[in-house]
């Protein structure tokens, strides 16, 4: 008997591609949530590989908080044009302007994304929605299935999840319901970076060390913006930083870093004693169940 092994990145890639193809085979109208962050960029890369040499049979959906990093929006528009993709944009600012959503006192818009996201899913009748969520990110996400059914209100009920056996994903759903699909479930932050390095995938510049004006809040370096920072007691200084995650500018913190290449980023993450979300996400620190509560409502 001759044995053989795939590298762990090859095994993860193969599994993710299998998931993309299952969705293409079973659903009518899938969409990829695309934030311009590294996880969604890797998802898009995998989807392109899964259907090569043909085009991917999915469109993209960006939930635009209105507090985006300009580099990320540029990146988004560039890849959409390059691969001739169809992009849907659900805008938090529109909801605020129409008076449907109200700005929070702390200025963060991450929790405000849920309504524009879920309404767009219903309006476009998306039946499968790919998310870049990884189980290693957070303890509520560690409970997530690869195929996760959402009801007609897009709600997640962790106590009523379908058992998920072998690689037999069950995509059955009633009209109005949809399935959230997480092809990167079994990837860790380090896997994502190693894959980006191996595949030579371009990322927005904010992932690499650069000098920018930041101020300290809740133990994180935030970039000044129209959403209410810096406050009177907070002072701006110029520091060399990079981002480990990309989200709403109001609650995504930068970390001090001189990692200006992928290799240096990988070394930095391998040595870090902080998780990615613990280091850079204010919204997860609001309560012990912040992520679970948002996910229940339909957040990704």
């Amino acid at each position: 008997m001759s044995g053989y092994t795939l590298s762990h990145l090859d095994a993860l890639e193969s599994e993710a591609v299998h998931i993309f193809r299952e969705v293409a085979g079973e659903f009518e109208n899938p969409v990829i949530l695309f934030s311009g962050g590294k996880d969604s960029i890797v998802m898009l890369h995998l989807a392109l590989k899964a259907f090569a040499p043909a085009a991917i049979p999915f469109s993209l959906l960006h939930v635009d908080t209105g507090h985006n990093f300009p580099e990320v929006l540029e990146y988004r528009d560039r890849v959409v044009a390059e691969h001739a993709l169809r992009l849907h944009v659900a805008s938090v600012q529109d909801y605020i302007d129409r008076g449907v959503l109200r700005e929070r006192p702390d200025g963060t818009r991450n929790p405000l994304q849920t309504l524009p996201l879920t309404e767009r899913i219903q309006a476009e009748r998306f039946d499968a929605v790919f998310g870049g969520g990884r189980r290693d990110e957070e303890k509520a996400r560690a409970k997530e299935r690869v195929f996760s059914l959402r009801d007609e209100f897009s709600q997640w009920d962790p106590r009523r999840q379908r058992p998920e056996l072998w690689n037999l994903y069950n995509g059955r759903h009633a009209p109005g319901e949809h399935v959230r699909v997480f092809p990167l479930s079994n990837w860790t932050e380090l896997d994502v970076w190693q894959y980006i390095a191996r595949e030579d995938i371009a990322l927005p510049d904010i992932y690499f060390a650069h000098y920018r004006e930041v101020f300290r809040r809740d133990g994180m370096w935030l970039t000044a913006g129209e959403w209410g920072g810096p406050g009177p007691a907070e002072t701006v200084e110029k520091r060399q930083v990079r981002y480990r995650t990309v989200g709403d500018m109001s609650c995504t913190g930068a970390v001090d870093s001189d990692a200006d290449t992928i290799e240096k980023v990988i070394s930095e993450i391998a040595a870090s004693r902080l998780t990615e979300r613990g280091a850079t996400r204010a919204d997860d620190k609001m309560s012990e169940a912040a992520m679970e509560d948002r996910k229940r409502e339909g957040y990704f």
Partner: protein, 404 residues
């Protein structure tokens, strides 16, 4: 090069009854292997203090849902990721309560190793037997019997040995091929990551040591090739049959059979995610082009090599029923096997009239279309199926095909 790039991966599952200390064991494994990062530990310390505890409660590392923390129990499978310099680990942390047995089945279905935990004070209990039966049924290749709370029985060898003996009797009854017993204390940290100084009579490895060294593999390349077609990629005039090779290898030039039609052809070209190759191995996701125009679509299976699958509409299988609604003789269900979903009728439940949630049993089904089946003992991928409720799409039952 970075440290974890070429290290292999072990997928394993934990199972234990309530209060056996499973969450503590998992917490200890993560904590002592330095897989817990500072902010996670701080969160646990804060939460433990808020609950009036002096020491960090390691179980809080893993109980991720509000209801789990409120009740102090694990409700659903959680997947955790950690690595040592030797190996990467994907841990399916599954609940012990009887009513959540289906979640152990979920965790065990992809596991290459299962840890069955018992409390040294209580020994083998009904849930232990159930967990052993599930591990045997799902043919998890390696089983560890972790006898926990050894500190509460004065680290006594005779207590450990009596439990091992008792478990061995159950194991052979259920057809478990073998198991590795390890005496541990999750709370004190004995034999979890570091070998214990309290049990000189025990010469075996600590748990993590065993997990790092147990053999894992993708499977032999000379197994018969099985390729369920997931999706047809059309590019100009060319059709690429896209899918994941679930066993064996495919080579350009191989004679292949398409099931269920029985038509034959030859592999004209193979690509692995855009790059042409001469040979592809399981579990690669590939594209297959055939030499002849054939009617092939999602749900078909392309095979090569000696020992083809059994084509049949009469399916016999061992099952675990997972849904609250019972399964009854005469039920009309959907059956998903590889990429094929067909209508099926429940003909027989081994003489029983119905199966309740968490029941293990034997089933005979009649399907509307033929399936290309392998025995589950030969292939966990082409020998497994799920039953689905056609009314609401719920996953009802896990099935393991029994041929011959």
């Amino acid at each position: 090069m970075t440290p974890h790039l070429t290290v292999d991966t072990l997928r394993f599952a934990t199972a234990g009854s309530v209060d056996d200390g499973k969450s503590t064991l998992v917490g200890r494994l993560l904590h002592d292997s330095k897989s817990v990062l500072t902010d996670q530990l701080e969160a646990v310390e804060t939460a433990s203090r808020n609950r009036g505890k002096d020491a960090p409660d390691l179980a809080l590392l893993t109980d991720g849902l509000r209801a789990e923390r409120e009740q102090g129990i694990t409700i659903d499978v959680a997947y955790r990721y950690f690595a040592t310099p030797r190996r990467r680990f994907i841990l399916a942390d599954t609940p012990g309560h009887v009513q959540y047995t289906r979640n152990m089945v979920t965790g065990a279905s992809t596991a290459e190793l299962a840890i069955i935990l018992v409390d040294a004070r209580n020994g083998v209990v009904e849930q232990t037997r159930r967990h052993a039966a599930i591990a045997a049924l799902l043919r998890v290749p390696h089983v560890v019997l972790a006898v926990n709370k050894m500190d509460l029985v004065d680290y006594r060898q005779d207590v450990f040995e009596r439990i091992v003996e008792e478990f061995a009797a159950d194991a052979s009854e259920f057809g478990l091929p073998g198991f590795t017993p390890i005496p541990v204390s999750a709370l004190a940290g004995d034999n979890v990551v570091e070998r214990s100084a309290h049990m000189e009579w025990y010469a075996g490895p600590a748990l993590l040591e065993f997990l790092e060294n147990v053999p894992v593999g993708t499977g032999p390349a000379d197994a018969p090739a099985r390729f369920p077609v997931q999706y047809v990629i059309r590019h100009g005039e060319v059709r690429h049959y896209a899918g994941q090779l679930v066993s064996g290898a495919l080579r350009v030039g191989d004679r292949v059979t398409v099931h269920p039609s029985g038509e034959t052809s030859e592999v004209a070209a193979l690509d692995v995610l855009g790059a042409d190759v001469e040979v592809a191995y399981a579990p690669q996701s590939v594209g297959v082009r055939l030499a002849d125009q054939r009617d092939v679509s999602r749900g078909d299976m392309i095979t090569a090599g000696a020992g083809g699958p059994t084509l049949t509409r009469d399916v016999r299988a061992a099952v675990c029923h997972l849904a609250d609604r019972p399964l009854r003789v005469g039920d009309r269900v959907l059956l998903k096997h590889t990429t094929r979903t067909v209508k099926a009728l429940v003909k027989d439940l081994g003489g029983a009239s119905g199966l309740a949630v968490n029941d293990l049993g034997r089933i005979t089904l009649r399907t509307a279309e033929p399936l290309a089946l392998d025995d589950y003992g030969v292939s966990r991928r082409t020998g497994a199926f799920i039953l689905i409720d056609p009314a609401d799409g719920a996953t009802l039952t896990a099935g393991m095909v029994e041929l011959g």
